[in-house]
Symmetry: C2
Amino acid sequence: MKLYEKAPTPNSLRVSLFIAEKGIEIPRVDVDIRGGENVTDEFKAKSPNGKIPLLELDDETTICESVAICRYIDAAFPTNHHLFGEDALAIGQVEMWNRIVEFQGLYAAFQAFRNITGIYKDRERCVEAWGKESKQRLEEFLPELEKRLTTSPYVAGDKFSVADITAYVLCGFMKNLDLHLDESLPALLAWHRKISERPAFIEASTK
Amino acid sequence: MKLYEKAPTPNSLRVSLFIAEKGIEIPRVDVDIRGGENVTDEFKAKSPNGKIPLLELDDETTICESVAICRYIDAAFPTNHHLFGEDALAIGQVEMWNRIVEFQGLYAAFQAFRNITGIYKDRERCVEAWGKESKQRLEEFLPELEKRLTTSPYVAGDKFSVADITAYVLCGFMKNLDLHLDESLPALLAWHRKISERPAFIEASTK
């Protein structure tokens, strides 16, 4: 098994944090996405969405999409550390919060960054006005996340979950949009400090 | 337990098809979204994302986000009909394909529809150019889905899964963008006919 990734990108970080939380090791292959290594025919033959991260199993079966890789790992290496929730209610609530943070937070941040900067304009058409709109929606979402963390120790409830990983990756990525965590969002800031001290997060951030 | 929904909307249909496939009955409450019933303070107090569908449990705990509702139902009412995949590989592949169809297909269709028509301009800012770009990306995705269904009987592999539900809802919704299935996409058309004949799909479409 090996993981094709680009270490500083947010979706590769999501998978790295998940793997570190699960306490497993997977060999990595660095892919030069700025140079377009992921849009070659060879890579596209491996990856249904042409993107990294991409997990390749020993029989050459591949899984793309960061959350899908996490779900495969979660099912293939079962532990008592249930990052997708343990019982039915937790499973539903983790998926709910992971999707809320992903659609209203991380995906909005990606759309903002790509459309404002035009970083991949060699391979996609950009609409700058949508980039600015997406950034504004993200700025409107952060107080919603703050409100949630005022009443809940973790994003999806009483336990750490994959939704915390998604929110943590969002908090790091939004620096690219000149958005920063500060005392105006005290619960989010305190949660971020707490999360950053987890051994898996220290391990993943030093790689 | 009750389900707040609006019957003809795509995300309510996703949950209805899932419930019908699982063979369970849940009482429904119709919500007038065009009239803004879902953006009242009363509804927003129930739903973390302010959207329908929303599942309310008997203790008044709520779960929003259509896929999260499906995951709760899947875990709370276990059967041998594994719509999220049965073993680790299938679990990973179903999530992968469901996300590919959702992000590149259904979500693109929603962004196209909302930004082109301005249907919710009373509650969100629209960028028409992004609507048109999203429609074009959806038109570029359909041949990818066609290619997949040329080699696979169902979207995520050999078995029917939640990814087929997402793709089916996409095929119905895209009529709103004047996009239609026809003989230019023969594998997708054949798959759609096959899916439409499933008892759960006949049941859900006649409600």
